[in-house]
């Protein structure tokens, strides 16, 4: 009886020691694979057609409100970002139109406008920083490029636009049930 117990225990110890999944060195291998990937945010200012704003607005009148409709070249803009946001100066800096404004009054460049959006949309902040919200291209093990929020979401009309899909595959000649079973 004692022999069996000794045999059983020694077999257990042998299998545990030889089991490669319990090897500690696999954890160290994963650590050494951590490659620092740099992330570059595409500068938004390059895509603004009317930048810098102060070229036209060099004399800022002291206004508390901006009346709609706006004059040229801003006359084609639509405003559909929450019904109760009517004050442009909530996001735009009143004295320097080249900058944006955070809630606490500090100014912000258009290149970092995502920080303005994250003030209200905090649930997207971590996702965007980890690269899983929005398109991120480049190299999966190297430099990655991503955009600010406004590349896809027009800040004054932020709903993601409907698109036209590419054409469907050709339906086979003898096929049945073209649109699914139901």
């Amino acid at each position: 009886m004692l022999r069996f117990i000794v045999l059983f225990i020694s077999t257990c110890i042998f299998t545990i020691c030889s089991d490669p999944t319990l090897n500690i060195s696999t954890k160290i291998k994963a650590e050494s694979l951590k490659q620092k990937s740099t992330i570059e945010i595409m500068p938004r200012i390059l895509f603004l057609t009317e930048y810098p704003c102060m070229e036209c607005h060099h004399e800022i009148e002291k206004k508390d409100k901006i009346l709609l409709p706006l004059k040229q070249p801003h006359n084609l803009m639509k405003f559909d970002h929450m019904d109760n946001i009517k004050n442009c100066f909530l996001c735009h800096d009143r004295f320097n139109y080249d900058q944006l404004r955070l809630i606490d009054g500090s100014t912000l460049s258009y290149n970092n406008s995502q920080n303005l959006c994250f003030q209200c949309h905090g649930e997207k902040k971590k996702d965007w920083e980890m690269g899983i919200h929005g398109q991120q291209i480049g190299k999966w093990n190297g430099k990655k490029f991503r955009d600010t929020c406004v590349e896809c979401h027009n800040p004054h009309e932020p709903t993601f636009p409907q698109m036209k899909a590419d054409p469907p595959p050709p339906f086979p000649k003898l096929g049945i049930n073209k649109h699914g079973m139901h």
Partner: protein, 315 residues
Amino acid sequence: MNYNKNKNIQKTMNLILDKTTTRRQTLKGFAALSIGMTSIIVGNSPIVKSGFMDNFFNKHYKEMTNDYKKKLFKKLIKNTYTEYGVNISISDPQPIKGVRFAYCLNLSKCNGSRRCVTACVKENNQSRNPAIQYIKVLEMNMGSINLEAGDMYYEGKSVPNKNKFYLPVQCHHCYNAPCVTVCPVEATWVQEDGICVIDYEWCIGCRYCMAACPYGARRFNFKRPSIPRSKINPNQGFLSNIIRSAGVVEKCHFCLHRTRNGEYPACLEACPTGARKFGNLNDPDSEVSYIISKKRVFVLKEELNTIPSFFYYFD
């Protein structure tokens, strides 16, 4: 009279060959002569000269040495040039050590634009007529994950359509792939970084793998693939996007000629909403590791125990 005729033929044969022959031997001689002449004619015909039968004597990819691969790639490059007039380059990137690829797809973001399908076809030299597309985008009703009820032929004038969500399906590169188990000639296998590859020159076209795949990910070349000359992608990988012949099975291969060099697959770069994420599961900083640890991911047909590398989630 017939008997005399045959005897005359035999007499002439005896005179020609300078020895006595029997009727049986004469017939054998005629048969051998006819076989020889047919083989000379067939060997010089344009079908064989175009290299149609060349890959009959190829080795399996796993047995190829580097020298053999170089010669084979040169031959393939030459064949493509003769046929299409396009200079291509064939690479053979090996799996990177310690990398295990995974793909994550955000179903809340996919709007059914099918840009991934078009980009894949462009990148991977797929046949345009008959059209082969590795990715199927299924339009599903909200509230069900019944793949058989998905509609892949939806018209997308303005996507996303109301009350529908979109599920793109491609090869899942399963850890426990049923297609690998059933292949009778081992033309398909899973490499160390998780990508399931096909040796197109070795595949015999029996389509057992197509029957075995539960996701309907594999496509067959019923006819010779036709690709317009201007649309050929010249950056080719031997196991990924060389121009295939008729009678072989093909499927998504995670663009291994791109991903093994660090780039993203073509479908990911084309996605307009950023629903697709790809990376190395073993890297804790990668997007896919973050998604799998923080989001509620699921796989399709989990009960079949295929253990796919393709994960879906709703945000």
